[in-house]
Amino acid sequence: MDDQSLRAKLAEYTAKVEKTIAKRPERKNLEHNRLYTPLDLEDLDYERDLGFPGDYPYTRGVQPTMYRGRFWTMRQYAGFATAEESNRRYRYLLDQGQTGLSCAFDLPTQIGYDSDDGISEGEVGKVGVAIDSLADMELLFAGIDLGKVSTSMTINAPAAVLLAMYIAVAEKQGVSADKLNGTIQNDILKEYAARGTYIFPPKPSMRLITNIFEYCSKNVPQWNTISISGYHIREAGSTAAQEIAFTIADGIAYVDAAIKAGLNVDDFAGRLSFFWNAHNNVLEEVAKFRASRRVWAKVMKERFGACNPKSLMLRVHTQTAGSMLTAQQPENNIVRVALQTVAAVLGGTQSLHTNSKDEALALPTEDAVRVALRTQQIVAYESGLADVVDPLAGSYYIEALTNKIEQECWDYINKIDEMGGAVVAIEKGYIQREIQESAYKWQMDVENKKRIIVGVNQFQIKEKPPEGLLKVDAAVGEMQKQKLAKLRANRDNAALKTKLEVLERAAKDETENLMPAILDAVKAYGTLGEICGVLRNVFGEYQAHVSL
């Protein structure tokens, strides 16, 4: 059928629809068109816009064979209480067929405070494991061969310190740094914009990040030096397009900073990775993943002149949307997570964390985590969704939506460029306000029932109080304090003092790479709070932009 007759047929169809909805109105508030046809893809050029999997612009995936080669890495984010307790959970997950580790740290660790710091009171071991020094890190990975496992660490402001601890543990196991596989999140810009665990102001923070890029390119070449994260931006309430737009804008800022620091783009860009949210609207999410790969490939090739194909590929870890879990009828969350898993897999993720059904109420129990992991395994082994590469390509709707999200993404990137880049846009509060607007709109849509959340604003039941939730032992704080007191009494404090002085001098000299001095301080059993304290004194602390 040629375009002209197709248009005529579409007009006939539209007339029919109008008659129908005059009698039987459609559901209201739907975001996308009723129907997509070849007319929506008139400008689509297969080679230019889609290409083949593993080829530019990577719309169809970053590897030629995708999940026909091997499934995505199943990586459950875990950690709570003490290093010993978390080590048990990690070994359990590996026994259950998990293929990579993902460490959750408690808030004092994420913000560079020791467990015995006054400000840590009540927070020790709560949202993740408490790590105060190399001694805790040794316990965390006891009996786990760091040469064989890949480990993702959700750590940002003090990422350099935790990476140094990981390298030091590996060394003690006899595994050299060049054999290590894993990721540090190391994405400070989204901390300012959406997640909140910042320490230092942007300038020294960007320096720490480029120092890590440089150090790892020479010493830890298989390490993913950053996971540029949209996940938390989405959790804070953004739309799908905002999630990838603000994140890619952050990515541009990191690449800019590294190039300004004198690095060659192809020396570090291949180790940049991303982190997306898998939200409820399955097909919109699939389009988002595809659009993000195309945008990043173009950014790296056209804007930064990267040549190595690895520099152009947006490799991504995904987590299902925690904010979409409901405290009401928590069993329903298993279904939500299954659908989000489908979105991530059809979107072509490289690794995935699935949330547990009880996470709107507490940290997950072992049983709940197992169901979440099984959900991935069922999608992988039973559903057939992983058998064909990018199976939704060519769908009128998916391709049109991929184009639309890409366009929205470019509009934001252009706007942020005009403001002077992501750092400036965050300092002005622009990105935060855009996210807040979307979050507020979402909440009002739920309250006005424009958006139905099953079990929350419709189909409610009288709930029984939830049972068997995980509770972190309140004694964890005390246990960590005692461990610290012992550590401080038994280590060579004079040797440590020298290492911390070297670190201080390095921090004051902007041309120095901080990684070697941090690694030395870590090996001398300097605590996270002591090391970050030195840096706090030199760098100062970030003062957040508060706006409503």
Binding site: V127, G237, A327
Partner: protein, 130 residues
């Protein structure tokens, strides 16, 4: 004209999740209250001090990190020390049902858990502010 109800929306502890706090703050403002938002990482002392300085009727704290059993009662006691017994104290966030009785016993007037509508919070404040 009747004095407008003044609310301090606060984020105690180290938790960075402020989507809920900001949405609630804005909804309370849209409902006609005067709203002051503290921003992240406030110590109980800072929150009590802000409540005194801003002369608020309500302190609404949001916490998703699990530190509520330590931090909420601390704020309550500091407000008592400052003779702010009439301030209505509210809490919200990921707070297990089993923790709620003790928090209420400590002096938190109500705990709002995930799924609560902002309209319910507005109504509660209007009905209970002293």
């Amino acid at each position: 004209m009747e004095k407008r109800i003044r609310v301090l929306v606060a984020k105690p502890g180290l938790d960075g999740h402020d989507r809920g706090a900001k949405v609630v703050a804005r909804a309370l403002r849209d409902a006609g209250f005067e709203v002051i938002y503290t921003g992240l990482r406030q110590t109980p002392e800072q929150i009590a001090e802000a409540a005194l300085e801003e002369d608020v009727n309500v302190v609404a704290m949001s916490l998703l990190s699990g530190a509520h059993n330590t931090l909420f009662p601390k704020v309550v006691n500091l407000l008592k020390d400052k003779e702010l017994e009439n301030v209505l104290i509210l809490g919200g966030g990921v707070i297990p049902d089993t923790d709620i009785p003790a928090l209420k016993q400590a002096g938190v007037a109500e705990i709002f858990t995930p799924g609560t509508s902002t309209a319910a919070i507005v109504e509660f404040i209007k009905a209970n502010v002293k």
